[in-house]
Symmetry: C4
Subunit: 269 residues, 4 copies
């Protein structure tokens, strides 16, 4: 069956790649569908708009869900390594992007989870040939990956701090000042350490305000820690990446990520 194979291959080129003319148009159409469908879900949640356009939104939701379901089936059909696609990041997002509509038949309000479709737009970087953006995103992810262990230690410390300070505030302020339980006080401590500060709960007693000040200054200064970690790792990743760009002509290393030609011998990188 050479014809069937080439049929599959053509489909693969159109759906998964964007080098061909039809592949490009397919991707652009897909992105337009995604944007419209996410916008529809968001507008659908505004009471005054829902009242008026309920049927339009339901029609849109089902249309896009069926389209995306067909697309998902075709993707599985034409991809060479099925398991790898299904359990890849994009494969899972493609699946999660259609489930809520079907779930909505049984459970109420679940259809709003369709906004997860916005993650499918990440494909836009691939389509628009924004490889530079992808390589930049990779730099960030690398630096994040390298910071991972330090950041885990950091988060565990933050959480411990929030629990201990939260319990202290629960004892000091008590339920009459809004600190109705330790879990709620821990929530307040996180709101404070992260310097968000809603103000829905705030200390009223003198001692409580002193403890709160300590928490705030602590939070304000430990904000420095993840920044420092990330900045240090990022500059190492950037240096490494520069060193790994070697000119094919004169073998000079250390070219910048944006350089297209070797600044020594002029050869294309």
């Amino acid at each position: 069956m050479p014809s069937a194979r080439s049929h599959k291959e053509t489909l693969f080129e159109i759906i998964f790649e964007s080098d061909t003319h039809s592949g490009k148009w397919f991707d652009i159409a897909l992105i337009i569908c995604i944007v419209i469908s996410v916008a529809a879900v968001m507008l659908d949640s505004i009471p005054s708009i829902r009242e008026e356009y309920r049927t339009v939104f339901q029609w849109l939701e089902w249309t896009f869900t069926i389209l995306f379901t067909i697309e998902y089936a075709v993707r599985i059909y034409c991809v060479p390594n099925r398991m790898r696609y299904i359990f890849s990041f994009y494969g899972l997002v493609d699946l999660v992007a259609i489930i809520p509509t079907y779930l909505g038949l049984f459970i109420t309000d679940v259809q709003y989870l369709l906004v997860i479709r916005i993650l499918r737009i990440l494909r836009i970087f691939r389509i628009l040939k924004l490889t530079r953006y992808i390589s930049q995103a990779k730099l960030l992810t690398d630096a994040l990956y390298r910071s991972q262990e330090k950041v885990t230690v950091f988060f565990f410390s933050i959480f411990s701090l929030a629990v201990i300070f939260g319990a202290a505030m629960y004892i000091v302020e008590g339920a009459e000042n809004g600190f109705t339980s330790i879990p709620k006080s821990v929530y307040w401590a996180i709101v404070t350490i992260t310097t968000v500060g809603y103000g829905d709960i705030s200390p009223q007693t003198g001692l409580g305000q002193v403890i709160a000040s300590v928490i705030m200054v602590t939070g304000y200064s430990i904000i420095a820690i993840p920044t420092g970690i990330f900045a240090a790792e990022l500059s190492q990743v950037i240096r490494k990446e520069k060193l790994s760009r070697v000119c094919p002509g004169c073998k000079k290393a250390g070219h910048e990520a944006k350089a297209n030609y070797c600044d020594d011998c002029g050869a294309k990188l």
Copy 2:
């Protein structure tokens, strides 16, 4: 017409440059006009003051608008390359700085947009010969330009996060706790991720507070990312700028931006 040409050139020197005596005085007068006109617009918006001085403010607004309109016309008249001026940053600001008054004849409240005139003060850096400030501003802009791609990727991720978390909170908290629609919940998610935290909307249910805590800690840690990016790029820009300062005497490179003399042979840089 050599006289006409020199007339144009004299005007150009006065209006666009500030090396001559009259050029300097023109610029200083212009800045005073800008400051007074912006202050007038701001004061005009305070109800108690507007009541009393309404006519004074209207008179000021029209006087400055007419002055700036004449100035704009003269600028176009005397500039050698008209199109380039009109579509330059300063040319557009000069135009936008006079339009709102005329629009105000037809539409109400538009005159407050006159505060855009404050951007014209950016000329102050040029007039006061604060070239060092300009070169510093250029360093910052360079670093920002170099961070651009990484920052675009970063903002797209932030926005996706806000949409997904916003939809989740809309389902969990619902309209009775202030999360009346997904767009409003997305607004809340942005307020939280950026650690602004107005507190006009805040989670009331236990699950909502847990999700909110996750958003806050996420926001608190990703604050590190643009800082890391910018710091890494800025230090590269500063290093480059130092390397590009070569002593004309002994050819030593690597002088600091603030150095006026070569620290090796003493030649003026």
Copy 3:
């Protein structure tokens, strides 16, 4: 008494180390106890849950306290250097983790301080052989230690600023706008400088809002200082640690913390 000594040593291996089979299981059991006991204390503080399960929680609290008391006694019994253990960080945490229950017999609400037990979970890093995490935590602590003097200077400046700005706001705004005393105004100034911004107290007069703006911009820019200090110190610590990793084979220095083999001669590091 060789048997007594080896008995002590066996206990020491089980309780303090986690290389043996029983040592590992002891540690895992301990962590489960800690998690359950902290969760019980937190849930106990929620009024609706306390009503229903009061006796369960009291029973849990006393069970765990007695277990931890026995464990503490056995630790003191089998550790070779008793004084060093008792006054070590873990020794003090182990003691503090049992005291509140006994204090609770005399003073009300103190039992909530039991959440301090969460600090005992720090042992988890040791048990799971997460030595890499420990070495990362050490990097952070080193950088913090090196930043210590700069940060002390910094905090003293912040506190002085808060006192002076707080007193100014007390005079400008006065008790009728919520600034009822200087200590309270200082609390407000700290809330503002750290960009937490609860909004429980906020300036109402024009002059007060101008001063508040100055405080905010000050706080916003000095956030840069601890970050800068910490980032600079952390990158020095990381560089030093890399330099101190010398290959036993070829003596090449400068291996990364994550590297397991020398990238030059392939010897195990």
Copy 4:
């Protein structure tokens, strides 16, 4: 009059230096006076405490003011270069620390400005021979001084942004949503850009919330700029300081600020 001169010199040693026994005790007594006097001013502002101890606080205030006035007079008397002392930072603080009490005879509430006395505690760094702290503070000040031009450009941009965004919000939201005038809207824009977010004023309309989101994300990302500037400058200052520490024995440069001995030849630095 050699005796008079040496009398002056003895006074100078006691008051201005802390190498002698009496000089040290004078400084410690002074610091205790400052702390008590600032604490008294702060407590005096709490209504319930003022009621009860009014006479105590008035007596304390006048006692300390008279003591500090005498001290100021003696300082002027015994200092060799009077003008230089009077117009130095400490000289001005010494003067400002006594004026408010005398002003309080004519104007009400001014005595609270006495908290400015807290700045006199900065002498503590000198007394406790915390020269290392002073040198660290100098590092910070140096880095701040080097960042100065970049930061000026940065603040002017922030202020322009706040004015333009403030005016836009005033038009969009209007007085009925709390944006009663442009100055107040500018205040709100500053509260938002700095991520303080009191929530006393917050956007209510959809368009207003979209503009607010843009301001927040802008503020969130430009927080990176001063941090990046400061971190880059600080690391340059630290590197320079290391290079300037040269071993007197073997002339090796690049010793760390904390090193007491040359790590190459062991000579004292």
